[in-house]
């Protein structure tokens, strides 16, 4: 299998190229722009045989993709941050109409304040829009998860779109070595697109997405819930097949040194490698530390998380989004609810917002605090980490009274 250099955006484009979309509608936004650009390049140079629609907004990008895929072709788009927020309304149309679009989302914080850098608030804000969500740990995984997402989303009993989330800059612009399948191998795995549910065809008429009466809406949503239930099983099957074909193991959740761990962190996205690095370090020093990475966030793998974390007494769940007003940030709330029958101490730890680096040093500090709880020296630990002193006083100005 060829080894190539890609940054995360390049890997997403490579996966899209391998899946042979017929229509591409994309709007550039930092840090996704190079996806929109490279897709345009691919169409211009003939490596993708598709109609490229230079849409005027993300809202139109998703709208055009829905229209196009309903005619029976695979589509491609990508977005980030406020672009995803602008798409929000139509994301619900894609999922509700069971249009299995696969979309890379380059994670970037939402405004305000304005920021160009990575956090997960953009996709976390979409967690209940009826899309499957996978969070990549490496550039290799961007390619792998994108390819798998086509199979999972388009499965006849799933028929639910996917967001493949990659951290802005940490993955989108990080050049890494990637093993890729050949075009034929990938095509044999992804398979041609086939319309399996609703479609727009002048010769076989139906009218899609008309007003749904109250007497049917609940059932339509329940259908989606069943799609999610199946997606959890189908994801495992597809990951297994992927491993058999290409030799790379993918995870819905990835436990790391958890068997005998006394303290553990739960991570999501690109920070996860750094967590493992620090776990290795701590293990070398005799600390029983572990880590769990969540890759599949929707459907949420509550059972597996419960199973892998059941022996850990102190757990810090790290969210790269603030979860304002919530009982813990999004990932932490989910983990807590998955673990409600255990007596583990679970802390919601918030940081890494807007590209603030989550370094090895940060993880060392987090593990120290978790260990302190484990030793009984502390009962609670700060929920926001790497916070500046005096955050309320960032702007102190003289005013005329």
């Amino acid at each position: 299998m060829p080894i190539k250099m890609f940054d995360g955006n390049g890997a997403a484009v490579e996966a899209i190229r391998l899946a042979r979309p017929g229509v591409i509608a994309a709007y550039p936004i930092t840090p996704q722009s190079s996806i929109a650009e490279k897709l345009a390049d691919c169409v211009a140079n003939g490596s993708i045989d598709a109609e490229y629609i230079r849409v005027e907004s993300e809202h139109s990008a998703m709208s055009a993709c829905i229209g196009a895929q309903l005619t029976g072709v695979r589509v491609a788009t990508a977005t980030a941050s406020v672009g995803l927020a602008l798409m929000h309304e139509v994301c619900g149309v894609a999922s509700g109409c069971r249009v299995p679009i696969v979309m890379p989302v380059v994670n970037r914080s939402l405004v305000a304040p304005w920021s160009l850098w990575c956090d997960h608030q953009d996709t976390m804000a979409e967690r209940d829009t009826g899309w499957l969500q996978y969070y990549c740990g490496t550039v290799q995984e961007v390619l792998d998860l994108m390819l798998c997402a086509y199979r999972i989303s388009e499965h006849a009993e799933v028929m639910t779109p996917s967001m493949v989330c990659l951290d802005g800059f940490y993955l989108s612009h990080s050049m890494q070595k990637v093993t890729t399948p050949t075009d034929d191998e990938a095509w044999d795995f992804v398979r041609p697109y086939a319309r399996k549910n609703m479609y727009i065809d002048p010769e076989d008429v139906m009218f899609i997405n008309d007003l749904c009466p109250t007497s049917e809406y609940t059932e339509m949503r329940y259908q989606q819930k069943i799609g999610f239930d199946r997606a959890a099983e189908v994801t495992r099957d597809v990951f297994q097949e992927y491993e058999q074909r290409f030799g790379r193991r993918l995870h819905t959740v990835e436990p790391y040194m958890l068997e005998d761990a006394e303290v553990a962190v739960v991570t999501i996205g690109s920070m996860s490698g750094t967590a493992k690095y620090v776990v290795n370090e701590l293990r070398a020093n005799g600390v029983k530390a572990g880590a769990l990475r969540i890759c599949m966030f929707r459907p949420f793998p509550a059972g597996e998380i419960m199973e892998t974390l059941k022996n850990v007494k102190v757990i810090g769940v790290i969210d790269r989004s603030a979860g304002l007003g919530g009982a813990g940030a999004p990932v932490a709330s989910e983990v807590k609810s998955a673990m409600y029958q255990t007596d583990a101490k679970i802390f919601s730890l918030i940081g890494g917002l807007a590209g603030r680096d989550i370094s090895d040093r940060t993880f060392r500090q987090i593990f120290e605090r978790l260990s302190a709880v484990s030793r009984g020296e502390k009962t609670d630990i700060d929920s926001w980490f790497d916070l500046k002193e005096n955050p309320m006083g960032l702007r102190e100005v003289d005013v005329v009274c």
Partner: protein, 183 residues
Amino acid sequence: MKKIKFYGIGGQGAVTAAKIFSEAVSLYQNEYAITVPAYGHERRGAPVYAHIIVDENPVLLNCYVYEPDVILVMDDTLIDKDVDVGEGCTEKTVLVLNSGSKEMIQRYKDTYGFKRVYACDGTTVAKNILNMNIPNSAMLGALAKTGIVTIEAMERAIQDGFGKVGEKNVNAARDAYERTYEA
């Protein structure tokens, strides 16, 4: 594991250089690398950074470089631009500096305490060979002088990365490599 940081000014190709360097070690030296560029608004003329971590094994760390083993400075005027290129550096940190000025090189040593400095006037090399003021390929050649990557691996990655103008840039890298000296 080696941690490297590139400093440059928007338009000099520092981020591209980081990606090419990653490719050189990953594809042509059988190692692994991650690069994390720190972007701001895309502007020519503003300082830019890139963080690179290289290892024989797949790199787990995915964060910035705080204690660099090697730093590459694409433009010696950065010292006057409120950029602390000495941040996190120790006596062991190797500096690769694009400068043709002995005074400037001395200022870098005095200001930040670098003990090992590789210098090369990459800008002049770029002007002579590429006929333009983009010193990134030349400075990648200079970086090879430190031994962190072979010049052969770097040349192959430059050839891939620069496409049609690959050969010219390879020449710039080779020329700069040969001119680079330990100051």
